[in-house]
């Protein structure tokens, strides 16, 4: 076995710096993706024909093509098409938001459909307008139903965010790549990167459990 962790020690702070990139992409994309996914879900359950069709087509395309292709396209094709010099972070957040919005919209739609029909009727009978009913009565219950699925989506997004290294964004993965190039060793930098991802996922899982317990207090 040819392992030498002594050599990598000076580079550890550099790999740790990648946490910032990973977290930035993940957190912003999760929040925006959730909002975007909610909007898509609401469109899908509405009876508004053309928009409805568009949302379904949108989901189909984003689920039906590789994420890395979407990312590459957004980052490299945006300047070509619009002349706007999109930054790595912008491209990463945009792609992940659009992509996870497509996935989350299906989850949220399922959560909304699982809310007891009686809740809709009770809200209607009280004269609550549609928008308020969705925001205050239906969505909160729908989201509670799908909390575990949302946590899974967040974890998946955190791990998939490693793809942003392909456009050179300085996340954990990219910094590990850089260290590999500097010391010509593979195992050590990627082991550290893997460890960091794992710890972050564990923290996320723990946070999700706390949140879930709080939301279940009305049961």
């Amino acid at each position: 076995m040819n392992l030498d962790f002594a050599q990598i020690v000076p580079y550890i702070p550099f790999i740790l710096q990648g946490i910032k990139g990973t977290l930035l992409v993940t957190l912003i994309s999760v929040v925006l993706g959730f909002i975007w996914g909610s909007i898509l879900a609401l469109i899908k359950i509405s009876k508004f024909g053309p928009l409805n069709w568009l949302a379904v087509a949108y989901t189909s395309v984003f689920r039906g093509t590789p994420l890395i292709l979407q990312l590459t396209l957004v980052y490299f094709a945006t300047p070509q098409l619009t002349g706007y010099n999109i930054s790595q972070l912008e491209a990463a957040v945009l792609t992940f938001t659009l992509n996870s919005g497509a996935y989350i919209s299906e989850t949220i739609r399922g959560g909304i459909m699982a809310v007891d029909k009686g809740q809709w009727e009770a809200a209607k009978a009280l004269g609550v307008p549609y928008r308020r009913m969705m925001l205050d009565i239906i969505l909160p219950q729908g989201v509670k139903n799908i909390l575990p699925a949302l946590v899974n989506e967040t974890i998946a997004l955190l791990k998939e965010s490693a793809l942003v290294s392909t456009i050179g964004l300085a996340d954990i993965m990219q910094n590990a790549n850089v260290v590999k190039g500097a010391i010509f060793r593979y195992f050590e930098p990627y082991l550290i990167a893997g460890f960091l991802y794992y710890v972050m996922v564990m923290i996320l899982t723990w946070v999700a459990r706390v949140v879930e317990r709080r939301m279940r207090r009305s049961d």
């Binding site: 009686g118 809740q119 009727e121 009770a122 209607k124 004269g127 307008p129 308020r132 219950q141």
Partner: protein, 240 residues
């Protein structure tokens, strides 16, 4: 107050209501009874447009609610509805269940809504439950909260859709007591129920439905002692 003029309702090829006409006067308590599948609930749900009649007219206080241009939300705010399965909002406390619609829909000040809500909770005997979530209540308590939730909107009419059918027998009475109290305040009420004794005691009129038709529209005494139709006789024999 409510004028129902020859309404029909079909779900696909299924004709649930086959031309029903009646009137409910202000302060009147009407019990709607009949075998299951007779269209009782559908008739009730037409009165606040949870179901839109296929044809026919419903007028409330001179306003035609079946007019496609009618403001459905505004109409519903004047009509309270209590469901068989309560349908309290599970993610809100009892107090918030009551204050939600008045504050968010009617624009009532929060303090005023809370004051009214607490008064109503006291009236249905649940003043001490204001801050608990619905999941902690018994069925009877839930239904009383649901009644209070409707009343806080100050409706002119209250609709009850089998309000005691989902309750354990020992909880039926507490709900019926609240409804009786409400009837005595002069509230206009339409009640779909299987509680024959309650219907006889509280209602001013019985509407007996069978297979989507209104077979009897009579005072309770006459209905229970001497029903006109053969179908009502059979029904009463079975349920009593």
């Amino acid at each position: 107050m409510i004028k129902i003029d020859n309404i029909t309702k079909s779900f696909g090829s299924l004709n649930v209501l086959k031309g029903i006409s009646t009137e409910i006067g202000k302060g009147e308590v009407v019990a709607i009874i009949g075998p299951s599948g007779s269209g009782k609930s559908t008739l009730l749900r037409c009165m606040n447009l949870l179901e839109v009649p296929t044809s026919g007219k419903i007028t409330i206080n001179g306003q035609e609610i079946t007019d496609p241009k009618a403001n459905v939300m505004a109409i519903r705010q004047q009509i309270g509805m209590v469901f068989q399965h309560f349908h309290l909002f599970p993610h809100m406390t009892v107090l918030n269940n009551l204050t939600y619609a008045p504050t968010k829909v009617k624009g009532m000040a929060k303090s005023e809504a809370e004051k009214k809500a607490r008064e109503l909770l006291a009236r249905v005997g649940l003043a001490d439950k204001a801050d608990v979530f619905p999941s902690r209540l018994s069925g009877g308590q839930k239904q009383r909260v649901a009644i209070a939730r409707s009343l806080v909107m100050e409706p002119q009419i209250m609709l009850f859709d089998e309000p005691t059918s989902a309750l354990d027998p020992e909880m039926v009475k507490e709900v019926l007591e609240v409804m009786k109290g409400l009837a005595h305040t002069g509230m206009t009420m339409a009640i779909v129920t299987h509680e024959m004794r309650f219907a006889e005691e509280v209602s001013d009129r019985i509407l007996f439905l069978d297979d989507g038709r209104l077979l009897e529209d009579t005072p309770p005494k006459q209905f229970f002692q001497n029903p006109k139709s053969e179908r009502a006789k059979q029904f009463l024999e079975k349920v009593r």
